[in-house]
Amino acid sequence: MPPLRDKFTIHSKAVVCQDVELKGDITIGSGTVIHPKATLFAIAGPIVIGANCIVEEGAVIVNRRREVMRIGDDNLFEIGCRVECPSIGNSNTVGTRARVHHTLRLSHYCTISAGCLIVPSSDETLDPYTVVYAGENGLCDRRIWSGKGKMQEADLRRKHAEYLRDMLPKFNRLRRGEGA
């Protein structure tokens, strides 16, 4: 494996805190917020994050594959989650301390609830609006969300990101991309 070469491209409107561990080739899109103590780890291939995503404290995003790991827009990665999906669409939520293996791809509007561990043995893509939640028997159950209320949720997500973009720079040093 070739040695890691760090190359960070951070959009001028993104908020990436100083205390974030970045390794490898990473591109962060406009309006995305990355909290302190998050980890982005591009081991083999680069990681490209779209616009208006939120990556919370302790979240770990790893690309183990050679191809580009593309993360779409408006995704939320909650505290302490670990995501290794090769591709992630738009408006997904990965809950607190949930873990997603590199054999799973997320499409759009998927929800992985808190604490769920998803390790498919072969490559799998979650359909849009899939909800994975910890069912009563302790296993991860799946269901399809009707999508009702998604506009209100998108609005909430936008406000959430907007608030963080205002508040985080007041209390944290920010990291700038190499171009800035």
Partner: protein, 554 residues
């Protein structure tokens, strides 16, 4: 694991517990933290959950903590005693549902995405934040975001199970009205069961409960009839036969339609799981998308009374938000807590699994320790007496030696009262400690049985704060087998400074201000059962050894 359980004499008339090797004896013994204590002078006894009489103190919704008045639970015939406000459970994952507004119509989508601050609009629906189930899937929407239960009631009232339940209530109503005055109680001379049935009949008009208690009462009446053949029971006459509108076998016809559906099933996720359908009282659809939101059942706070003197033992505070008690007489505040430990053999080199059952070999002697902790503010003196089990045949499988003279346990004191306690630890205590540590050396020598006991294995081993550790010895006979389990009579004597303060003792310790200094010696005895472990019989042990030898050879 060795264990100690306390005896509650409610199941028998004699104060002496049954021998511990009887299977049924375990029902009479309880863990200390589940027991209560009646402090009335005429009682002064341990009470268990099985013998106290329970009455409902108040109903509340566990979700919104709204206190539902008992009168309204009875009068309004709240459906299944469920929260009549806005509380619902997700049928899919049992999370609490929230009421949310719908998105604006799709037409305005492009415009509103740009605009920040989309506000929802009616109709409202129930939504699960966890698994994203929403009530539009089963066609339930609301015009207003308040009074959901009321809005839903209209649709629920026509459901077959609700109609049937109403009819059942109607059917049993005349019988129930007559029941508390006549019939049930007089058939039972046992005060415990009569207290229980009177507690049942007191709140008999709770819809959820009435069904069962009425059935129960009906059955009892029936049995009575058969016993006193010839005399007609009044109860029986009043209870006419109930005919269900729904034939019991009729569920099959519903299922037939589902057979077709299951034949064409592609995704197993569409079938509702047993857990999801379990709560339904009626035959429900098998389809996951037919599941209806569930009402959240009310919880109740309960008052517990002594079965003998009817004094209150447990009384929670009325407010549903509060977790405190107005009255809480638990046994752990009045009788010493006893913990047992069996020191592991020193000679063993294998790592000992703490959860593995303790085993003893026949023909050997084992030390064990009992730690007594005094919960009271008065120092107490404890005497132990092993109950001799009635011998059925042969020699007893084991013998237990415990110190026979009384020993003292210091009073309970708050943590800040223990200044410099460690420094003036008596020399004899240290000696005892050392002796206690050294004693298990006799463990590996089977000859120990014949020898006189070592002086410090049995006796007071350690005194620290309000805990006294006693050493005992288990001598297992050559033919010993079964469980090393024995009953022990514990008598503790203490000087109660002020009985009045004791009676009124609640959670607040401030009431413990002795006003009158008249010391009164009190004695309380109770039985415990000590389960030390399993005795490995001789022959089995030998086969064991042979096995292990063969193993080592091969």
């Amino acid at each position: 694991m060795p264990s100690v359980h306390y005896y509650c004499p409610c199941l028998s008339t004699s104060p002496v517990p049954p021998p511990p090797d009887l299977e049924s004896s375990s029902y009479s013994f309880h863990e200390l933290h589940t027991l209560y204590f009646c402090t009335e002078p005429e009682c002064m006894a341990i009470r268990c959950n099985r013998c106290v009489s329970v009455e409902v103190n108040g109903y509340y919704c566990p979700n919104c903590l709204f206190e539902v008045p008992s009168a309204s639970v009875r009068a309004e015939k709240n459906r299944y005693g469920a929260c009549a406000r806005n509380c619902f459970q997700c049928p899919s994952c049992r999370n609490t549902l929230v009421i949310v507004a719908s998105d604006p119509p799709e037409g305005s989508l492009s415009a509103s995405v740009a605009a920040v601050g989309i506000t929802g609009e009616p109709p409202y629906f129930l939504y699960c934040n966890f698994c994203r189930w929403d009530s539009t899937e089963v066609g339930i929407t609301f015009e207003k975001a308040t009074g959901l239960a009321g809005q839903l009631q209209k649709t629920e009232e026509t459901a077959p199970d609700v109609v049937e339940f109403e009819r059942l209530k109607e059917h049993f109503e005349p019988f129930l009205r007559a029941a508390p005055s006549g019939g049930i109680a007089h058939a039972h001379s046992n005060p415990i069961t009569s207290a229980a049935s009177s507690a049942l009949s007191r709140d008999i008009s709770i819809p959820g409960l009435s069904k069962y208690s009425a059935l129960l009462a009906g059955r009892r009446g029936g049995r009575n009839d058969r016993e006193k053949a010839g005399t007609t029971s009044k109860d029986k006459e009043e209870l006419a036969e109930f005919r269900s509108r729904w034939e019991t076998g009729a569920g099959a016809s519903v299922a037939e339609g589902e057979v077709d559906w299951i034949k064409h099933l592609e995704d197993v996720g569409e079938v509702a799981t047993i857990e999801q359908r379990w709560v339904g009282s009626w035959t429900t659809s098998m389809r996951e998308r037919d599941l209806k939101p569930l009402r959240i059942p009310l919880h109740s706070k309960k008052t517990k009374r002594c079965p003998q003197c009817r004094h209150i033992i447990i009384k929670p505070e009325q407010k549903s938000q509060s977790v405190r008690y107005k009255m809480k007489l638990t046994a752990s505040n009045f009788v010493p807590a006893i913990a047992i430990s069996v020191p592991p053999p020193v000679a063993s080199t294998k790592a000992v699994d703490p959860n593995a059952p303790v085993t003893f070999h026949a023909g050997r002697t084992y030390p064990f320790r009992l730690a007594f902790t005094n919960p009271m503010y008065e120092p107490t003196t404890v005497t132990l007496q092993v109950q001799r089990a009635p011998l059925l045949k042969g020699r007893p499988p084991f013998a237990v030696s415990l110190p026979s003279p009384p020993f003292a346990i210091a009073a309970y004191a708050e943590a800040w009262e223990y200044e410099d306690e460690d420094e003036d630890m008596a020399d004899e205590d240290i000696d005892a400690l050392l002796a206690g540590v050294g004693s298990p050396s006799g463990y590996t020598q089977p000859r120990e049985v014949a020898k006189p006991k070592k002086p410090k294995t049995v006796g007071v081993l350690e005194r620290k704060a309000n805990t006294t550790v006693i050493g005992g010895e288990l001598v297992i006979g050559k033919e010993g087998r079964g469980d090393a389990k024995f009953n022990l009579l514990v008598t503790h004597t203490y000087q109660a400074e002020d009985t009045a303060a004791q009676e009124g003792e609640t959670e607040e310790k401030s009431t413990k201000t002795p006003t009158s200094r008249q010391a009164e010696v009190k004695t309380f005895s109770f039985y415990i059962v000590i389960d030390l472990g399993v005795i490995i019989p001789r022959e089995k042990e030998e086969s064991h050894r042979r096995d292990s030898e063969q193993m080592s050879i091969s």
